[in-house]
Symmetry: C2
Subunit: 188 residues, 2 copies
Amino acid sequence: MPENNNPISLFVDNLSDKNKQLLETIATQKTYKKNTFLLKPGRPASSIFIISKGITRNFIRKSDKEITLQFSFENEIVFPQNSYQSDGKSDEYIQTLTDTEVEFINLNEFNRLKNGNPELLKFEISINEFYMIQMAQRLRDFQTLNATERYLQLIEKEPKIIKYIPLTYIASYLGITLGSLSRIRGII
Amino acid sequence: MPENNNPISLFVDNLSDKNKQLLETIATQKTYKKNTFLLKPGRPASSIFIISKGITRNFIRKSDKEITLQFSFENEIVFPQNSYQSDGKSDEYIQTLTDTEVEFINLNEFNRLKNGNPELLKFEISINEFYMIQMAQRLRDFQTLNATERYLQLIEKEPKIIKYIPLTYIASYLGITLGSLSRIRGII
DNA sequence: CGTGCACTTGATTGAAGTCAAGCGCTGTGG
DNA sequence: CCACAGCGCTTGACTTCAATCAAGTGCACG
């Protein structure tokens, strides 16, 4: 199973005991079978999830195709990428790719806790920064690399994805078709 | 010149007078001529800029080409997208595209101010969220749209860019070549 | 044992890149 | 004040990359 000790779990570790305990008071453990939806379009996302065990993906449907936006592994935080559209509804799906165990965190309660709590506010800033850097890197890859190079980059930077996730999902994550991805793998 | 009242300036407006004043104590007004570099690779970015007047672009060089990562207009905040690479150095340029007036904000001082200051911490969170949503949208466009659709999307969502910025820069921002962009414009 | 999923492969088309030439401004220096 | 250099953009001929659509393989699992 995926390796441990990513930046996100470090951010949690760095919290004071007091705040760790506070977080626990609003977290609920839940387990889901493979291929369960944690979020479907139309429902406002009132929670985020910390994955204790398992893998999820965020995706959207676009003209009969599924486009994968994000994969999430152990100790990572899952939330809808695009938050909301103009009509206030998310168009995003979040789905488990394996049997998965998550800590469910209600956003209203988290926002209440963090009010006037600098440590939790900084915690949120760190997490946002982490995901911003990741997205900026990914954007850059789309602007500067072709399909083959993006695939090689993925192997290097996110080997977990290659190891554990079906190519169909990886293809749309890389912005290419399954067929092309297969050919790229053949050549390399 | 570009329209006013974007989300970022609203975030500033919403600050308490006390914090607005605090920010002013660490801000320095500077003006730059067109085509000046506010940041070059190799130097750690110790500041961010709030544009009072003018336009900037962030870009990188990659095999003799310049790839534009971001344009910034009046009242927006400019900072390097990719923060840093593994060697700790940014590889990003920030350049003025017109005569430009900025509020220079030293990051160390800002970090000192925001320590234990929930309002400023929330301010930072709001700004990060704003840019995250923007990046997530842009990423999605690369995954789901072809060159023509990305251009149309840009016209719709960021008309300022089309109005004020040379096509050469826009092309790399959209991840296409100048020639292709010109053809797309010809057809539409 | 057979159905369906994950992936590969082939033939063809279409989208975008490359490279080079050329046009029309603008602005600057002789 | 004109001439010309350079920038911003377009256009053409051609190539290359990736998409499309369809067929087919191997494997897992009920």
